[in-house]
């Protein structure tokens, strides 16, 4: 029968030791402050306006300009700026005042109607992604077709699958919430694995197991302390970032499972490492691996299916879907179940390896 009194005593001791370790206390406060600070330093909205500089010397370009201005007037996606010279247009692109520059030749419309192939200049910023360049080329070609009198007779029916974020795009900082969740949970791995490793190296664990304390009670105490520390920090960060507003229960469940996940990893690291240095090295490696899946949320399409082999993928997916897209239990139960499976395997293996190391 579990002696909860002993478990509570050990948890109190571990929490005391954690906060007496100036390094851990400093890192904890620093990371909490840094993550929240970074979140609020990033813009709260996503600026999707396409700023386009245009240089149109001479006559014969009015019709295309009128079409572009009409596009600008229809929504806020296009911001048109007319510039007085080719040099001014180049400068505007180079100084990042506009995303791209368009040079319209004289008598453009007449040339198009006559079936000629006039050249339209396009200045692009060096960091422009290729898909944006293709989109601009397509825009100009489409407008040219209209001007040539042979508009494309096609109706495009667009349908958004999943939550429609058109008009309310997800800002980058909200896309980073899963990354922050994984990072703050992983900070706890450093603390737990170092505390455990220290207990093994200094022999205090040996002193504990000669008391009536059972080894199971010891693991429960260590595990609960770790989960409590990780979960409370992750909740603070998610609350500060407004991630608990839509689906608090799902976020809480995901973070709880994430806390158990890092506890299992902490057990494994403590059993493998010999000292603080090796704990830090191994934990950094694990941190890097676990940080990969949230980057997929940040930059969709970055990774292929292999990322599903990393357990933090399922945590990132649930946090993203619930906090950013308002997904309910029906959408997230599967990744939560898989995360639970990873937890059982990792905690079970961690306890077994640690028990073996200690024996």
């Amino acid at each position: 029968m579990m002696r909860w009194h002993a478990v509570r005593v050990l948890m109190g001791k571990d929490l005391r030791l954690f906060f007496r370790n100036r390094f851990f206390a400093f890192i904890t406060v620093l990371s909490l402050g840094a993550f929240i600070g970074i979140y609020f330093a990033l813009p709260p909205t996503l600026d999707e306006t396409l700023s386009l500089g245009v240089y149109a010397p001479g006559n014969g370009t009015e019709a295309l300009l009128a079409l572009l201005e009409a596009e600008e007037g229809e929504g806020e996606a296009l911001d048109l700026r007319l510039l007085g010279s080719d040099a001014a247009l180049r400068e505007a692109v180079l100084e990042e005042q506009v995303l791209a520059g368009l040079v319209l030749p004289q008598h453009l419309q007449a040339a198009l109607v006559a079936g000629e192939r006039p050249t339209v200049g396009l200045y692009l910023r060096a960091d422009m992604p290729p898909e944006m360049r293709d989109m601009l080329v397509g825009l100009v070609e489409g407008l040219a077709l209209v001007l040539s009198g042979v508009p494309l007779e096609i109706e495009v029916h667009a349908e958004t699958l999943g939550p429609d974020l058109a008009g309310d795009p997800l800002p980058m900082r909200d896309r980073m919430r899963p990354l922050f969740a994984v990072l703050i949970l992983m900070m706890e791995v450093f603390g737990l694995s170092t505390l455990l490793s220290e207990e093994i190296v200094t022999g205090t664990l040996r002193a504990l197991v000669t008391t009536p304390l059972r080894i199971g009670e010891l693991f429960v105490a260590k595990g609960l302390t770790s989960v409590l520390m990780a979960l409370s920090q992750a909740l603070v960060v998610m609350w500060a970032m407004g991630a608990l507003g839509q689906q608090p229960l799902i976020i809480l469940t995901a973070l709880l499972l994430g806390s158990i996940l890092v506890t299992g990893i902490g057990f494994l690291l403590a059993a493998s490492a010999r000292d603080m240095l090796s704990v830090t090295g191994l934990a950094t490696l694990v941190l890097l691996i676990l940080s990969i899946p949230p980057l997929g949320v940040l930059f969709p399409g970055l990774f292929t299916g292999w990322v599903r082999l990393i357990p933090s993928h399922y945590l990132a997916v649930v946090v993203h879907q619930a906090a950013n897209l308002g997904a309910g239990w029906a959408q997230v139960w599967q990744p939560l179940l898989i995360l639970l499976g990873f937890n059982i395997v990792l905690v079970g293996t961690g306890v077994a390896v640690l028990r073996r190391r200690f024996a």
Partner: protein
């Protein structure tokens, strides 16, 4: 109530191919101090680990207060106190916090920390972090930790190893006090003088086996040789040592001729030490 506090039956423990403890059997009576003597690597600490539930014997069993340590581990551990060879205290915590933590794990209520620290000579330092303590102070605190729940059996693994004479003497006195209280003490050491002074019986352990087990007096009688050692002055004025073995037929004659033919400067009898006997039995010293 069982007469024997500890009964070890055919205890065996291996580290891979190496047999660290090899078929060891012995008993310790209640209220007795048993010295477990042997050089480093002889199997002392491994034996303590099996007796205190830290390691399971690969063969044999150990009964403490009538209970099998492998079966009733927690019940036995509630009755024993262990002081380790290597310091293993929480150095970020104070002495008082260390004692309170372990007292809570033993379900001890109303622990008088001040009185306990006074017993081990650490009064007034209870709020200091253990990391700032000297080695002797840490060792005394480890003894205090082992005594916090007034155990019926006390295991002390090399408790005075590397300590200053004052700290070592303080710990020896505590061991004797514990025996007065009625506790059984299992003391591992390779300090033969300490063993001779403290222990009711001693066991010599060598290469994982018990080579001899008896009272120090009986071991000396059985294995030791009593001598008379005299310093005599030669004609040139130099000093020479003469040894005469006692308890032999020619001893009286040899003594008579010593005094009649030589100029005796000093003379005293000398008993074999436990170390001499250990060397005689095992063929090697304790270092």
């Amino acid at each position: 109530m069982t007469e024997h506090a500890i009964v070890a039956e055919n205890l065996t423990y291996r580290y891979g191919e190496l047999v660290a403890v090899d078929d060891v059997s012995f008993y310790v009576k209640q209220g007795e101090i048993l010295g477990f003597l042997g050089p480093n690597g002889a199997g002392k600490t491994t034996t303590v680990r099996m007796l205190t539930g830290q390691s399971r014997p690969h063969e044999g069993r150990a009964l403490l207060l009538g209970l099998d340590i492998a079966q009733d581990t927690s019940a036995v551990q509630a009755q024993i106190g262990v002081c380790f060879e290597v310091t293993n205290l929480y150095e970020q915590m104070s002495a008082a916090e260390n004692l309170a933590l372990f007292a809570q794990l033993y379900d001890v209520r109303n622990l008088d920390v001040d009185a306990l620290l006074r017993r081990v000579g650490l009064s007034g330092r209870e709020r200091d972090r253990v990391g700032a303590y000297s080695k002797g102070m840490k060792q005394r605190l480890m003894v205090a930790r082992a005594l916090a729940h007034q155990p019926r059996i006390l295991f002390l693994d090399e408790p005075t190893e590397g300590l200053d004479p004052v700290s070592a003497e303080a710990i020896r006195n505590l061991v004797l006090e514990e025996r007065e209280r009625g506790a059984t003490v299992f003391l591992t050491t390779h300090d033969m003088l300490e063993a001779e002074r403290l222990c009711d019986r001693v066991a010599f352990i060598h290469q994982g086996r018990i080579a001899a087990l008896d009272t120090p007096h009986s071991l000396k009688q059985r294995y030791g040789t009593r001598l008379v050692e005299a310093q005599v002055a030669t004609e040139s004025g130099a000093l020479e040592t003469r040894q005469i073995v006692l308890d032999e037929p020619e001893t009286p004659g040899a003594l008579q001729s010593l005094f009649s033919q030589e100029q005796v400067v000093t003379i005293h009898s000398r008993e074999a030490s436990l170390e001499d006997i250990f060397i005689q039995i095992t063929g090697r010293g304790l270092a």
